[in-house]
Structure formats: C-alpha cells, structure tokens
C-alpha cells in the first residue's frame, strides 16, 4: 500500500522497509537507492515521499537511550514520537522546549524540518535545543554530529528534510516545568491592528503566543480573530494530569466534497469567533488541548475529502506588514476560504540549521481544500507576494511551489546540496531542485 503525506499526496515508492533497530541501518551502504526516511507522515506535501526506491519507516525505532534527571538532557532514537517523549518527561518535570501543532511527530522528523512552535520568539526552533545527533550515511560513515564535531553536517541535517543521511538518534535539552498545565488567555481581536499591538506587548511575559484569524470576515470585521497566549502554570502536581485519551474521535472515512464550502467555513469561523463572549478569557488547561487541539480528532485531514488539503505557510519580514495584508486581500478575493488561519510572529533567534525555515517576521499558516487548478493559481499568486516581500515558504507544508520560488527564497540551497547523501531523494527535492 503506497504511503500518503498528511495532505493526502500519494507516495510513489517501490518498496518500504521497517527499521526496528539502529543496527539495521548500519547496512545502509548495501541497500539499493534511492531511499528516504518516513516517520509519522505529518508533513503535508511531498517532502516525506519518494518517487521509486525505498521508504524507510522509522516509527518503530522508538527507544530511549539515556535521561539525566539533573540536567534534563534526553537521548532517544529518532522514531520516538513527541507523544511518547511527553508521556515520559512530563511526570518527571520536563517538557519539550519547542512543540509543533501535533504530537504525532517523530524526533527525526522534527529535526529534519527544524520545527517551530508558539514560543519561537523565546526559544527559536527545535534545532536550537538539539545537542547532538547520530547520522548514518550511505558511504558507511556512522557519525555523531554536533556543533563541536561534524559541524557542517550537523547544520545541514537540521532542517535538511531528511536528505543528508539517516538520523538514528539524538540528544535534546528539555525545559523544566512545575505543572502539566498551561495558564492560557484568549483575547478577541477586532483586526490586524489590534493583533500587532497585543503581540508587541505579549512577547516579554508570555512563553507561548499565537493568533487565529478569521479570513472570511469582511468590511470592518476584517482581520478579526482570537489571540492566544500562555505560560506553563506554576506549582501543582506533575502527576495529577490525566492525559488526553488519544484521539478522542477518529474520522473513519473521507468526508464528501461538499462538506467544506464557503458557507460552512464561514459558519465555522463565525462560531469560533463568537464562542467567546467576553473580550478576555483566562483558563488553566492541560498541555494537550493547548498545544494539540487537532490531535483530538484522529485523521482530521479526512475532513477535507479524498483530494485532501493544501497548507500554505509563509513568512514575511516584520517590516513588510503591507504585504501580509495583501495576502489576506488576495485570499478574500479568491473566495477560497481557509478553514483555519494561524498568525504568529517569529523572533530573531537563529537556528543552527542551514536550510531552516523560520526567520524573523510574521508567519501565516492556512488550510485550503485541494481544488486543483483553482488552488494552484491562488498559491502562485500568493507566492509572488511572498517572494517580493523577501519571504519564504515552509517546505514541510508545501506541495506546489515552483523551483524558482524555492531557489529564490533559499539561496543557500546550492551549498546545502553538497551535504545531501547521494542515496537519498524525495519528491519535494526533485521538484524544487530542478535547474533552469
């Protein structure tokens, strides 16, 4: 059965191989290429898929290697999921320093995409917290990479989309917590202006900030949304929290095409905005609903029907607010509503990753139903605005950007190419690395 990415793009692998042990990978030099590692398949586009060749399934490679309860340094195999990491670390008073929007991500995948979270302004990307990683190369080299040794390969592997070799294990610096709960505040915002204002004043005092934007709202409602900010709660019992049963419900089948249309999306956004009556709501909630609200619905991508969904995530520099507004205009005019639009400001903490996506500026993430031609046209229009503003797109989410768009946004791609393991290939890289 061929593999799919989260956006329901079909992989074209000839074969797949389950990795159970680190030592299984020591024979990498004898495997026939091309190969690519596949963890939990949460990449939306085609960066986790391969055309021909062998997909190496890593999610069984999920053993811990070592934990130091004094320093909070955890070593684990690359297929360990963030879910399993947290199950282990939270009762011991430690949390993952940077968390993406789903816990169904392997550590190897988190490194390969140099994932970011709601605290980018405070802690940068996950790559900033990776102390070392174990990399197997197809020439038989078995390397420990860190900022101290094999530095170039370490930097290339963080955000390297799994192309620099097979990541077998890593060591991550966790952050101490006193409680499994988050003190969260939800503030209704009337427009982008208010978003910028709250965002500016929240950086200092809040570990986590993110904003949901209603991109269906028009007129004087435009840009309204809910600004969400929070901190790890102080004090309390680390074990008191009964973790969320995962997942609560599961989409058993693909929803029919008509489920998401302009009207249902508008209704959803309307309901989400008005669910909160007061301007400010303060709650103490478990880390699951705060970080991973969508994980409560298994296979939520099926809501988008058989053709799947397309994500569009871009970043524009902080001083290009006008271009950000243009993106919203363009989406509004297209009539292709985004079910969920998320806006966040990235801080200026640089990642060690050579190809890392986040950089200082505003990042906007949008979900669209895949409407074929219509979606492609809209995305290419958006690409133009982003590129003109000096911004870029997130490879982990992308399925459509052109080679030119990619190469303009990531001029370091040529230097990166020198570190790609010749046996590794992905559909994404084939697409964006073409010349001409």
């Amino acid at each position: 059965m061929p593999t799919h990415s989260w956006g329901r793009i079909k992989g074209q692998e000839k074969d797949s191989k389950i990795l159970h042990w680190r030592k299984d990978a020591f024979a990498l030099s004898q495997w026939t290429g091309p190969v690519l590692a596949y963890g939990l398949g949460r990449s939306y586009g085609d960066s986790c898929l391969i055309n021909g060749g062998t997909l190496i399934q890593t999610s069984q490679l999920n053993k811990f290697r070592h934990f130091d309860p004094e320093t909070g340094r955890l070593s684990c195999e690359a297929g360990l999921s963030i879910e399993d990491l947290l199950k282990f670390s939270v009762p011991r008073g430690w949390f993952i320093p940077v968390s993406p929007g789903t816990k169904y991500v392997t550590m190897g995948g988190a490194i390969a995409n140099d994932v970011h979270g709601k605290n980018h302004h405070r802690r940068g990307t996950i790559g900033c917290h990776i102390i070392d990683l174990e990399l197997m190369r197809s020439n038989g080299e078995h390397l420990q990479c860190s900022l101290q040794q094999e530095e170039a390969l370490f930097r290339a592997t963080i955000g390297g989309l799994g192309l620099t070799g097979l990541i077998l294990s890593c060591t991550i610096q966790l952050i101490p917590i006193e409680s499994p709960y988050i003190d969260a505040e939800m503030i209704k915002t009337t427009g982008l202006g208010e978003f910028f204002e709250i965002d500016r004043t929240s950086d200092q005092d809040y570990e986590y900030t993110v904003s949901w934007i209603d991109c269906m709202a028009k007129g004087d409602q435009r840009g309204r949304g809910v600004f969400i900010r929070g901190n790890h709660a102080k004090g309390g019992d680390l074990r008191s929290y009964s973790k969320q049963k995962s997942p609560l419900i599961t989409m058993p089948i693909d929803a029919p095409e008509f489920t998401l249309n302009r009207f249902t999306i508008k209704a959803f956004n309307e309901a989400y905005y008005h669910k909160q009556f007061s301007k400010l709501k303060m709650v103490r909630q478990g880390f699951d609903p705060f970080f991973y609200p969508l994980d409560a619905v298994g296979n939520w991508n099926r809501i988008y029907g058989k053709k799947g969904l397309l994500q569009y995530q871009c970043t524009v520099p902080t001083n290009k607010v006008e271009d950000l507004k243009q993106l919203f205009d363009r989406i509004e005019r297209s009539g292709q509503g985004s079910f969920l639009a998320v806006l966040k400001r990235f801080g200026n903490i640089a990642s060690p990753g050579m190809m890392s996506y986040p950089s200082e500026g505003y990042t906007l993430a949008l979900d669209f139903r895949n409407q074929g031609r219509k979606s492609i046209e809209l995305f290419h229009e958006l690409d133009k605005i982003v590129i003109r503003a000096g911004g870029k797109l997130y490879p982990a989410k992308d399925a459509l950007m052109s080679a030119l768009t990619f190469q303009t946004a990531y001029p370091q791609w040529k230097e990166f190419e020198r570190y790609i393991d010749p046996k590794f290939q992905s559909m994404f890289w084939e697409r964006v690395s073409t010349r001409g």
Binding site: I18, W21, R22, R65, H66, F88
Partner: protein, 273 residues
C-alpha cells in the same frame, strides 16, 4: 489457593498501585526474565515493568539489540538490567543456560518466553534443516527453559510464567501447519505444566496472539486483523494480573478459533487458508 491470591495482590501492587513502592520492593525489586527479549512483543511487555522499577534479565542472540533495549529500560526506571547473549535453539542448551542464569540472578517473579520463528510452510517442507531448526527454536528450547524454571520457581512457590504460543496452534491449516504444530506443542505443554504448578503457587499463562505487526510478520501484507505489539503486551499483563489461563489476543480470536476448531474435517480439509 492462598498463595494464588497473595500473588495476585503482589502483581497488582507492582503494576497498578501508583508510586507506592514498598520498602521490600526497593530492596528486592520485581524480577522479570525474558527469553527472546529482542522480539517485538518482548520490548513492549518489558516497558511497563521498567516504569515500575523492576529488574530484568534479558536473553537473546544479538548483543547490540540487547544493549539498545537495556538502555530503554534503564532510562524508564529499571533498577537493573542483566543481558545474556545466547542462541535459544536446543533443549539441553536452553535448559543448562536457564539453570545457570537463575543461579546467577535468582529465580524470576515474572517470565516471558517469546522467541520463535515463523518460517514459510512450503520452504520448510523442502528443507529438513530448516524444519529441524523451527522445532528446536519453537518447541525444544522453550521446553528446556520451562523444565529449568519448574524446578527453581516451584521451590520458591510463587511467580508467573507467560509463554507465547499462537492461534495457529489451535488447528493445523494447509498454509502454516509446520509453525502451527510447533505452537500446538507449546499450548499443550503449558496446559499440562499449568496444572502441575498450580498447587505450587506458580501461574503458567498460555498466550495465543493472532497476527502481530512485528519484524516476524514484516513480509506479510498488513491487515486489519493484525494487532500491535503494544496491544498484545498490554493484554498479557492484564491476563497475568487476572490469572486468565489461556489468553487470546486480540480477544476476537477466541471466537474465530472456536469456529475453526469446530468445523467438520470434510469442510476444513478443503480450505486452503
């Protein structure tokens, strides 16, 4: 029967009670011994015991794999992990090895015997060497281990021995009767041993999993009937604390195998599954 209920309390305390490690357990942690420790089910079985700070003796062929498992269990909280590299493929060898291991590490509280080969029935029918190895690994070696365990655990009058058999052992099917008959031998041997050890306070559990998604079945197409090693190991731990003598896991196999066992031979022998 008095010993039985005492044992049930003990395993409940070890597995369920939250953070109430008694002084006795601290000094003398629960000892888990696993034969075929690198099998897919074994690792998942061991993890909850590691969370409860048990100590382990792990037996398997491959040292690198044992070291990786031992790192995982230590990280989760295991008090001690002893690893023994040994090829479990003969009766006398396995018997002697088990005796020696027990001499050095003391008798275990909980044992899982999990090693085995699946093999391809057609290929096995053409290779006497392969058929011989299948029976040595799947039947003779576990019997050797069980003989040694009977002595040691019977003396101590407590503990649990869980042995992985298979639903394939319930009736010989055309497509995998070689493997099936090895498992049938295990089911029958453990059935008798259970009766023999019952008065001595040692509980023997026969585990009959259906297809499990592990390295052993990697070449087979994944099907909805295939269970995860995590699910199977959870069921085993539950069966130990509830003292279920024969565990079908997942439980729907009990019904399926009931039907298969009761099909009249003239129909069954025409089925090629």
């Amino acid at each position: 029967m008095v010993d039985q209920s005492k044992l049930a309390q003990e395993s409940n305390r070890n597995l369920r009670a939250k953070d109430k490690e008694s002084e006795k357990e601290k000094k003398n942690p629960h000892h888990v011994m696993i034969f075929g420790a690198s099998s897919g089910i074994a690792l998942e079985f061991a993890r909850p015991f590691a969370d409860r700070k048990a100590r382990f003796t792990l037996i398997a062929r491959d040292e690198d794999k044992l070291k990786d498992i031992s790192a995982d269990l230590y990280t989760r909280g295991a008090k001690n992990v002893a690893i023994v590299c040994y090829s479990l493929d003969a009766l006398e060898g396995s018997y002697a090895a088990t005796k020696e291991i027990i001499k050095q590490t003391e008798a275990p509280d909980t044992v899982l015997i999990a090693h085995g080969i699946l093999g391809d029935n057609d290929a096995l029918m053409k290779s006497p060497q392969a058929m011989d190895l299948l029976f040595r690994v799947n039947v003779l070696s576990p019997i050797g281990i069980l003989m040694a365990l009977e002595e040691a655990m019977g003396e101590r009058k407590r503990g649990t021995i869980a042995v992985i058999s298979s639903v394939a052992g319930d009736r010989g099917r055309a497509s995998n009767f070689a493997y099936g008959s090895t498992k049938s031998a295990i089911s029958e041997f453990t059935s008798g041993l259970r009766a023999r050890l019952l008065p001595k306070g040692v509980f023997v559990l026969t585990v009959k999993p259906g297809m499990v998604a592990t390295a052993m079945t990697e070449h087979l197409p994944r099907s909805p009937l295939m269970a995860s090693p995590k699910k199977v190991s959870r069921d085993i731990i539950k069966a130990i604390s509830q003292k279920t003598p024969v565990l079908y896991t997942p439980s729907f196999w009990r019904l399926i195998m009931f039907i298969i066992r009761h099909l009249p031979e003239f129909i069954f022998s025409r089925l090629k599954f």
